[in-house]
């Protein structure tokens, strides 16, 4: 299943102007999306493994690129999440 509003956030952040807004004031941009509290917390914590279970992988990549995370760190966090049995069962 996909979390619609998380996915919408990722989708919208393909626009460079919105990326600038997001990097300037992340909380203000998040306020525009009715995210579940645990999803918002995962976004604010850059919790790649948790968010990976909630949205499309391409959208996830767009999101973390917009958030400024280098590919190498993004990939490392994806792999750590995949090999962590606790992460694999949390938040489904």
């Amino acid at each position: 299943m996909r979390d619609y509003w998380l996915s919408k956030l990722c989708f919208d952040l393909q626009e460079p102007a919105r990326v600038a807004d997001y990097r300037r004031d992340r909380a203000a941009v998040l306020d525009r999306y009715p995210l579940k509290p645990e999803v918002r917390a995962a976004v604010l914590a850059d919790d790649v493994a948790h968010l990976a279970r909630l949205t499309n992988p391409y959208l996830l990549r767009y999101y973390f690129a917009a958030a400024g995370m280098p590919d190498a760190e993004f990939i490392a966090r994806l792999r750590a999440g995949a090999s962590d049995p606790d992460a694999a069962t949390a938040g489904g």
Binding site: R2, S7, K8, Q14, Y58, Y62
Partner: protein
């Protein structure tokens, strides 16, 4: 009457544009040679229309409206929105509404149910190969965008059937037109998954072997059972399957294959026997 003058395929990847200046020289040379050879061949055919088979990278569609396949029947299409494609020209891109509509109507008359759009934006999936091919002139484009990002998706057998449908639609188009088909995407790659950066060279080579031999059943078996394990980017091989069907499964000439971790993609380039 229209004539199918060629069927081609080329991989794409954002890093081939965004990080071009950082790629190793040998990789840039191989990629440039492969795209250039495709461009030379398409130019030689005198194609005035290209039917472009490509994924939509969350450019036109989202989870609230996601067609399995959409045909662009507009007079023009928007150019790529990605910042790393800002030098792509022309924008807008000329369409061919009459041919697009003919393909759409032929599909609907034969048990296929595509969506339609009068204004698509064509992202790097189609525009990157078009730009790297350095065509002497830009043909009109009829895009056929296939959902290859969000499951469920068209089966590979259905993609072959779509290809045959496309071939018959071009053959029955009453106006004079020289039509080429360009499939983009694939082969193995993985985006936003733990395997991101991995390339399944063994899968790619088996896929290339089946396409080269002009197989149908073994190709479908390989793709239905193996593509999903070759990374989510391998879903784009659906475009190659449509092209294979359009070429009547006659097999192709591989122009180049290079597993390129620098751009995260198993890159392949091919021209079918039509």
């Amino acid at each position: 009457m229209a004539e199918l003058v060629g069927v081609y395929a080329a991989s794409h990847g954002p890093l081939i544009a965004r990080d071009w200046h950082r790629l190793p020289d040998h990789l840039k040379q191989r990629l440039s040679a492969a795209y250039g050879e495709l461009g030379r061949r398409i130019t030689e055919t005198g194609a005035d229309v290209i039917v472009g088979l490509a994924p939509d990278h969350w450019t036109n569609f989202f989870l609230d409206n996601l067609p399995a396949l959409c045909i662009g029947i507009g007079e023009e299409h928007g150019g790529p929105p990605e910042p790393f494609m800002r030098d792509f020209a022309p924008d807008p891109i000329p369409g061919d509404p009459a041919l697009g509509r003919h393909i759409l109507e032929t599909a609907l008359a034969n048990g296929f149910e595509p969506a339609l759009s009068y204004r698509l934006r064509l992202d790097h999936g189609l525009c990157l190969p078009l730009s790297r091919m350095t065509l002497s002139r830009m043909p009109r484009i009829v895009p056929m965008l296939i959902n290859e990002l969000e499951p469920p998706m068209l089966s590979y057998r259905r993609c072959l059937a779509w290809g045959r449908l496309l071939r018959s639609a071009i053959a029955s188009y009453p106006a004079p037109a020289r039509v080429a088909i360009l499939a983009t995407g694939g082969l193995s790659h993985s985006i936003g998954e733990p395997t991101m950066g991995a390339i399944d060279e063994d899968f790619d080579r088996r896929c290339i072997d089946a396409l080269t031999r002009g197989e149908e059943g073994p190709l479908v078996d390989l793709l239905e059972h193996g593509a999903a394990r070759a990374g989510n980017g391998a879903h784009e091989i659906r475009n190659w399957a449509v092209a294979h069907g359009a070429a009547d499964c006659r097999g192709f000439e591989l122009l180049d294959y290079l597993p390129a971790p620098d751009v995260y993609v198993g890159c392949a380039f091919a021209a079918w026997r039509v």
